[in-house]
Subunit: 170 residues, 2 copies
């Protein structure tokens, strides 16, 4: 089964973290919450808290098979530290499965590896995805080779289905 | 004296709204808080509330001499409604003074009119500004013709000084 890293920090849209993680674990995959703060406590946009399993400084992306980037304002905050983009760039370069929902694709702009991908996202960051060289569409889920993207919490069932499909092929 | 529109919605970084507004008003300029929500109540990132003077649907950008875009997550939320970018595009096209701090310049990406400008911003959105064709530097304040940008609340004194300088030239 696959080892999935979830790259996340404060202000995450909670359900975009908890619901996919539940789906991966129920399918038998293992999940590691990775953040870049000194404090391992993660406080979501609506006040729910989580404990990071690992700090991005203490893990290697090579140790994981896939990456989830939940939305909310966590993707914006991840962009403040270039170590996070370096971690994510490994998955994009190696074409390992990458799952990004809502504002999640915004963070992937910092990998400089979205060019040529078809993606969707929350409406507010679509211009940035276009400017990064991606083709942006408005669909509940888009699969572009190894990259799965969705727009909003309502898209989670479709997002999980396509994500699990890629994990099952590993 | 100048008429300054402040384009702002929920999750604004409060001090980036209140401090520049105080500086403009003390210099004799008039300020109008413009938002695009049906509810005129604006709730900032830290819980402070403000009342919008006008809705973006009820004003014309032609009625104002200058535009302020404070930071926080308000700029991201303004991007969800294209009417806001249309309002801001008038100031960029007409080269009227535009003042954007922290995440403020991120919102201006949606005007498609940052190309050729030198700007600064909060670190997390610099890649988006580069991809939009701007030259990004890391300085407390940057004046690029009619456009004044800054990075963080600590830069507010320099941001206000350069902004007032442009307003005084009107």
């Amino acid at each position: 089964m696959a080892k999935v890293a979830v790259l996340v920090t404060d202000m995450v849209e909670e359900v975009e973290l908890t619901d996919p993680v539940k789906a991966y674990e129920e399918a038998g995959h293992s999940v590691t919450l990775v953040n870049s703060n000194e404090d391992s406590k993660i406080t979501g946009k609506n006040g729910e808290t989580f404990k990071a399993d690992k700090n991005v400084n203490d893990v290697k992306p090579e140790d994981f098979d896939a990456l989830l980037v939940p939305g909310g304002f966590s993707p914006d905050m991840l962009r403040a530290d270039p170590k996070n983009a370096e971690f994510a760039a490994h998955f994009m370069k190696e074409e390992k499965p990458v799952f990004a929902i809502c504002h999640g694709p915004q963070f992937l702009v910092d990998t400089d590896l979205l060019k040529g991908h078809e993606v969707t996202s929350f409406v507010s960051v679509r211009k940035d995805l276009e400017n990064a060289g991606a083709t942006v569409v408005d669909k509940e889920v888009v699969v572009s080779r190894h990259l799965v993207t969705s727009r909003v919490p309502d898209d989670i069932p479709a997002f999980n289905k396509e994500s699990l499909n890629l994990l099952d092929q590993l």
